[in-house]
Symmetry: C2
Subunit: 366 residues, 2 copies
């Protein structure tokens, strides 16, 4: 990589720049952003080696052009650079919806456009938050089509792996459908569950009845609404399709309940359980995951005490969560240890320190 252009120097563009310059200190990295402050800051932070005031000027001569602007700004940008970019240059982007984007990109530069979607960093914004390690160990989706040039795919792929990400190739429409199902519909669902639960119930009763399950299911409902609107807008068609199908699926479950077809409902719950366990199965766990649960005072040092005991015994803590008491002052610590022998040893050690340890039959590792 010698000549790279970044169109957009916010969180994602800035992080790409920082990571690329760390990996290839000699790279000629030109940056453009319609926000002059952002591009100045990118230059100051070393996320680019030269700032440009014009996208066509910035893109000319680059082997790789990375488009990292909000979805609504991509089309005008493509229009203004299509003539200027080298005929051999690769164009790629980082947008969260891919089908329309890939059509637009291929209309501009044919098979040299490769859609991309790094799965990291969406919660924060701006060059200030840029981080060369943002993509470390994250998935970086690429969405090649039959017309994609293999050289362009290789270049986009190299960008991702250089930044520490692993490439996953998915068809553009399949991508949009998958993110709708894995992220966008779950988000709407969590908000709808909170909405339904909180309606006409006093807080004390709600809190008394809401267990850890409700807390987990609705956690993402606390996310930034403005950010979510922009995400949902960008993937409107796929979200709508999946949301309607999801509604049908809940309707099917309701019909089973209405007609008391409990065997079918149980079979359906079992299939989902298996799918969930398989999806998040941890590949290399040593020993059977075993859950422990204990009440702890809510003060500094308690977690250290518990986890230090585990460390001393060589017990690897696979998962841990803290359930605060609604009354404050104390909470329940739930942890999963690899191996039942290790769990037993840890349990004994904690009992010796005065903790009362339970052995709940819970699956929160998964």
């Amino acid at each position: 990589m010698r000549n790279v252009t970044l169109l957009g120097t916010g969180l994602i563009g800035g992080s790409i720049g920082l990571g690329l310059r760390r990996a290839f200190p000699g790279v000629n990295l030109v940056g453009y952003d319609r926000d002059q402050e952002s591009v100045d800051e990118a230059l100051e932070r070393g996320a680019i080696s030269r700032a440009s005031q014009d996208p066509a000027d910035a893109a000319a001569g680059a082997e790789l052009v990375v488009i990292a602007v909000p979805l609504g700004q991509v089309q005008p940008l493509l229009d203004s650079i299509a003539e200027a970019v080298d005929r051999s240059a690769t164009l790629t982007d980082v947008g969260s919806a891919k089908a329309e984007m890939v059509l637009a990109g291929q209309a501009a530069v044919g098979g040299r456009f490769v859609g991309g979607h790094p799965m990291a960093g969406s919660e924060r914004r701006g060059i200030e938050a840029a981080d060369p390690d943002l993509f470390q160990d994250a998935a970086w989706i690429l969405t090649p089509t039959p017309v994609t040039s293999s050289g362009a795919y290789a270049a986009a792929s190299q960008l991702a792996t250089t930044l520490g990400a692993r490439v996953v190739a998915v068809d553009p429409s399949e991508h949009d459908s998958l993110v709708a199902r894995l992220s966008h519909v779950p988000q709407i669902t969590a908000s709808a569950l909170v909405d339904m639960a909180s309606r006409a119930g006093d807080r004390e009763a709600l809190l008394g009845l809401a267990g850890g399950g409700f807390r987990d299911v609705t956690r993402i409902a606390a996310s930034d609404p403005g950010l979510w609107i922009s995400i949902l807008r960008s993937n409107r068609a796929a979200v709508l399709h999946s949301l309607r199908r999801f509604g049908d699926s809940l309707g099917d479950a309701a019909t089973l309940i209405e007609n008391e077809r409990w065997d079918e409902l149980e079979a359906w719950l079992s299939r989902s359980r298996t799918a969930r366990l398989e999806l998040f199965a941890k590949p290399d766990i040593d020993g059977e995951p075993t859950a422990l649960s204990l009440m702890v005072p809510d003060r500094p040092g308690v977690l250290a005490e518990v986890t230090t005991e585990a460390g001393k015994l060589g017990a690897n803590i696979e998962d841990l969560r803290i359930v605060h008491s609604t009354e404050g002052g104390r909470g329940r610590l739930e942890l999963v240890v690899a191996g039942s022998d290790e769990a037993e040893a840890l349990s004994k050690a904690l009992e010796a320190r005065g903790y009362h340890v339970d052995h709940p039959d819970i699956d929160f590792t998964t």
Copy 2:
């Protein structure tokens, strides 16, 4: 409490017995269970002071009769003891659905029946799992009605507080509606989300795209399907009603998306966000919750190292979770520290130990 009868000596009945006898060593605690092995084991473990082979015999002479059998067995049990119980005795139960149960109980003994639902221990079964601390700090719902006698309510309430629980009074139908909305519908929803997400997507693509949000939302889909069928059966009418209304609510969201009424959708997401934050607001947090995130190797001792640093600095860890890398060998540790100064100090200490610490803008404390 001098004369108490336990009808049903499984997990819940056995735990009540152990807790009561610890609090009142002199209590005359008679137990009955249609499973003779269970009642024998209860006697052996000291969860009851005398075993009886007949429910009417067991209930005669008791001031308090606690019914802790599966929902389907309650009506015949009420029929067989109604004549035998003292006219001043209090009857209470522990079932997870209350409207029908309260009607049946009041038909048998009038206002001396008080419906109850301790919010603890539902995942395990049997006297083997009984634990006198099972109800410690849990909510114990009581469902009085206008005909409930105040003496009976006081007795049921004393039972709950003796066992360390806190009493929350809710109308029986309101209870059923609330658990449907807070627990039963979220459970079905989590299963339906997994079902939709896993259909027609290869595991690698699914894993690449599924973030921590999806993991949280669907965690409870790994629960025991058989147990859930019995819960859903017991609250069929309220579940059905809430599930249909929930479907309508998702349909409304879909309509907003279809018609691009983004402002309304954002307002709806914002209301849910506020409701979620208010519901689980921790009452006594010292300082602003501040999130940190770092990659850690997946081996014993790492959690101890991190949490010990926090303890040394007096930084209280409010929440913590481990996101395992899908490739194994390492994971991301996300924690929330009370107070931004404390978070900054911990971040510096961890950086000094070679960790790279991020400051994600996430809300998983909530």
